[in-house]
């Protein structure tokens, strides 16, 4: 019963969004059924559509999970975007410096020598640790600031987003770009730091599809987060802090510690986007690569009700929209792929409006809570 209820509102929101989107498509002069057939047909076609959909879902699972975990502790992590950038850059940095990559200028002179050339068994784990720990630090900073000084995590995570983007751009431009390269990207990481694409294991999946083992890692993280939150004493303390910090304190839980822990784990999860992006996909840090994954993660967490399973489902839905938007753009008369943005926005609107759906007296409930 409660599971049904949990699923009901997100489902209604999604369906309502598709109805609204359909009306819009009708208004611009196309057939909504045709457009939706294109959208889903493309996203679920085997193997290319499915491969891309799962690939697009991967960073959204990480960021959705990051936002959801922080939210379970009552914190709003708007900084997944910054955390995933520093995590990605850290992975690329290790991949270059410990992957034996020499960066040369046009004249063939070495402008940056690597620190080491590690074997895969050392380099890959090191890259993982770099992405996770640097993301964790970037998330942990606003956690510490809140715990020690009470400064609001929303402000601090937003600010750290700007710093993260600028910092990564700076290091790319002045230290790790191949001189003369017109694209803002680092040199390629050592091949020992590459993650296998799943095409290698699934015979019918062509190797150009960037879906890689990071997707499986994302699913594993969902399981681990679930176990952590609902099966361990630490998760109990984190969730208790999230629903009622006063009661948690009364029960002997250090609220400050929980805030730091939650933000750190949240940052680590966001930083893992770098594993997919750098180690699995481009094999380099590409400046400004994130298609607002950090912010879409907030929507994913919201739609997924801050539950790991919900996050997977919501991330898949958003990935379907992203993948399916391309043929909708190409094969309809008037509809552009902006319809995806419209659908995403409408879904969020309906999910956020849930309180208003919950019976005529929810209004009074809200009033009460804000008062006493």
């Amino acid at each position: 019963m409660s599971l049904f209820r949990e699923l009901l509102f997100p489902l209604i929101a999604v369906l309502a969004a598709f109805v609204v989107g359909g009306i819009l498509i009708l208004l611009v002069g196309d057939n909504p059924l045709h457009a939706y057939a294109l959208l889903f047909g493309s996203a679920f076609s085997w193997p290319v559509g499915v491969g891309y959909t799962l690939f697009y879902a991967t960073p959204l699972i990480f960021t959705g999970l990051a936002v959801a975990l922080a939210f379970r502790c009552g914190l709003l992590n708007i900084g997944a975007e910054g955390q995933l950038y520093v995590g990605s850059f850290a992975a690329a940095w290790v991949g270059i410096e410990f992957g034996g990559v020499f960066i040369r200028n046009g004249a063939g002179e070495i402008v940056n020598s690597p620190i080491a050339n590690l074997p895969i068994a050392l380099l890959l784990p090191l890259c993982f640790i770099a992405a996770i720990s640097v993301g964790a630090i970037w998330g942990g900073i606003p956690g510490v600031l809140k715990a020690k000084f009470g400064s609001h995590e929303v402000i601090n995570t937003i600010m750290l987003n700007f710093i993260a983007v600028a910092l990564c751009s700076y290091f790319t431009q002045y230290h790790y770009k191949i001189p003369g390269d017109p694209i803002m990207q680092t040199a390629e990481i050592g091949s020992n730091a590459n993650i296998m694409r799943l095409g290698k294991f699934i015979p019918s999946m062509p190797s150009f599809i960037p879906l890689n083992a990071s997707f499986l890692l994302a699913l594993l993280c969902c399981l681990l987060v679930y176990l952590f939150l609902w099966r361990t004493k630490w998760g109990y303390e984190l969730r208790a802090t999230g629903t009622n910090p006063s009661a948690a304190e009364y029960g002997g839980v250090s609220v400050r510690k929980q805030i730091i822990i939650a933000m750190t784990i949240s940052g680590a999860l966001a930083g893992m986007v770098g594993i997919n992006e750098v180690l699995g996909y481009r094999h380099r840090y590409y400046d400004g690569f994130s298609d607002n994954y950090g912010f879409t993660g907030i929507a994913v967490a919201l739609l997924g009700r801050n539950h790991p399973v919900g996050v997977i489902l919501a991330a898949l839905l958003f990935a379907v929209l992203q993948r399916g938007g391309i043929p909708v753009d190409a094969f309809t008369e008037h509809v552009t792929k902006d319809i995806v943005q419209v659908l995403q926005g409408t879904i969020i609107l309906f999910v956020a409006a849930e309180a208003f759906f919950r019976g005529p007296f929810s209004r009074w409930g809200l009033l009460k809570r804000s008062k006493v």
């Binding site: 099966r231 361990t232 004493k233 630490w234 109990y236 303390e237 969730r239 208790a240 629903t243 009622n244 006063s246 009661a247 948690a248 304190e249 009364y250 029960g251 002997g252 839980v253 250090s254 009033l367 009460k368 008062k371 006493v372």
Partner: protein
């Protein structure tokens, strides 16, 4: 003035009002009493147009009226003050009062006219409310008078008050009752919903008693007494006084020496307080609310920042004044907090998860690895508490929010007693709790004392604290101003100490 005839209201499977008849005579104060969930608030919300009755009719001044919304009710001269105030904190009194009935034309707001009218009404009933004060700067008692003004400003002749005294201090209750009497003198009619029998007897002219959605009694206040009302409310004989054997007092468990607790702004909430609590006794602390009781208990429980505390808190001869809440719990201190929603419960969590708060990281709740919660152990503990303390409904999967106040309180008490504490800090154990549950809770506290636990009890209910405590300290403005023997001290004696200090 108003009459409900054969009103029936169903919420899903629950019959909240079952063919009830309530008749309120004009110019009287009419009390509607009953336990939580008896249907009194539902009945009055129907009268105010908040809910629509499934069947039955409402007569106002002898004529049948359709009251479909609060708007209709206001037009008929009916006003209601809710238990939780509906005020905008950042706006002034005048702005709040005119909200929804703004004077002036379509564009300009005529606040001056409103202020003058508010002053006039305020003086008529001696409410002493300044129309220019901002709500958030007012005390709870003043805010309540603003709510009254709001109704009076709209020319209400009948005022429905839902549990109006729940948020007031004893002094404020006296002032509030004086206002109600003035309103009655001016010809207004008042309906007061409550479950405090002493207040019913003090203020009302007539009483309607409800139980399980039905009206079970209509009496004149002059012709009844507390015992009769309690019997009607609960449906059986209720023991209003606690029976307890002589205390077998042991060694001091807790020794507070020169304790001072400051607020963030430096003001002293507890000022150089010293006392002992011995094993096997209940030490009561009586005082008007807001005289430092909250801070005292929270300081003893380890919930006040260490730098705000000075002095010694010796527990079994160890100074724990600067230790955290977790260590204090491990040493054997349990705490029943005054505000169960804010402190005592995780309302969104289920009963099972609530039953382990405070012991959630210890064996046997965590398994061998010391990390994972053992769900069997959690459920076992929850079921033991639910059975031992008669928590209803007995379903560990329900969220704590779904329980009535009394059952929430029984869950907390069960959880805290379950750890076999050496010292139990208890604050307002029966606030907002049904009479039947009060009796149960009192018996449990006495049992714990007889088992050798030291109990420190703070309560705003003088009757409760005098009947439970073996020794009674009086607190006033953060200082202990006297100790009395609760068996021989009179209420007047204690009340004098509570209000005037020495």
């Amino acid at each position: 003035m108003i009459e409900l005839r054969n009103i029936t209201k169903r919420f899903g499977a629950v019959l909240a009002n079952d063919h009830i008849n309530i008749k309120v005579e004009p110019g009287t104060i009419h009390a509607i009493v009953g336990e939580n969930g008896a249907g009194k608030s539902t009945a009055m919300r129907i009268a105010y147009g908040f809910y629509k009755a499934d069947s039955g009719e409402i007569l106002v001044e002898g004529k049948v009226h359709e009251i479909a919304s609060p708007h209709d009710a206001i037009a008929l001269g009916i006003g209601m003050v809710h238990q939780h105030f509906m005020l905008v904190d950042t706006m002034t009194v005048a702005e709040n009062i005119i909200l929804g009935a703004e004077p002036g034309n379509a564009v300009a707001l005529d606040l001056d006219q409103a202020r003058a009218e508010i002053r006039r009404v305020s003086e008529e009933f001696k409410l002493a409310v300044n129309p220019n004060a901002v709500i958030e700067h007012l005390s709870v008692g003043q805010q309540q008078r603003v709510e009254l003004l709001k109704a009076l400003y709209r020319h209400a002749r009948l005022l429905i008050l839902d549990e109006p005294t729940a948020v007031l201090t004893p002094q404020e209750v006296d002032e509030f009752f004086a206002i109600l009497r003035r309103m009655r003198e001016q010809g207004k009619t008042v309906v007061i919903i409550t479950h405090k029998l002493s207040e019913v007897l003090a203020i009302s002219d007539d009483v309607t008693v409800m139980r399980d959605g039905k009206v079970v009694g209509r009496v004149k206040t002059k012709e009844t007494n507390a015992a009769e009302l309690a019997r009607l409310m609960v449906g059986r004989e209720v023991l209003l006084r606690v029976e307890k054997p002589e205390a077998k007092v042991g060694q001091p468990e807790l020794s507070v020496q020169g304790l001072t607790v400051k607020k963030a702004d430096g003001s002293k909430r507890i000022d150089n307080v010293s006392f002992d609590v011995r094993a096997g006794e209940i030490l009561g602390i009586a005082g008007v609310e807001g005289n430092g009781q909250t801070e005292l208990i929270e300081a003893l429980a380890g919930l006040v920042a260490s730098n705000h505390i000075s002095g010694k808190i010796l527990f079994e001869n160890r100074n724990i004044a600067h230790e955290g809440a977790r260590l204090r719990r491990e040493l054997g201190i349990a705490h029943i907090p005054e505000d169960r929603h804010r402190r005592g419960l995780l309302l969104e969590f289920d009963l099972a998860e609530n039953s382990i708060l405070g012991v959630h990281y210890r064996k046997p709740i965590v398994n061998v690895a010391g990390v994972f919660l053992d769900s069997d152990a959690v459920r076992r503990r929850a079921n033991e508490i639910i059975e031992g303390f008669d928590v209803r409904p007995a379903n560990p999967d329900l969220p704590a929010r779904a329980l009535s106040g009394g059952n929430q309180q029984k869950l907390i008490i069960g959880r805290e007693v379950k750890v076999n504490p050496k010292l139990l800090l208890v604050s307002q154990p029966t606030r907002g709790v049904d009479i039947g549950a009060i009796e149960f809770i009192h018996r449990k506290l006495v049992n714990l004392r007889d088992a050798g636990c030291a109990v420190l009890l703070v309560s705003a209910e003088l009757e409760e604290v005098t009947s439970l405590a073996d020794r009674l300290l009086i607190i006033h403005e953060g200082r202990i101003v006297g100790e009395v023997d609760p068996k021989i001290a009179t209420i007047e004696e204690i009340g004098l100490l509570m209000t005037r200090g020495h």
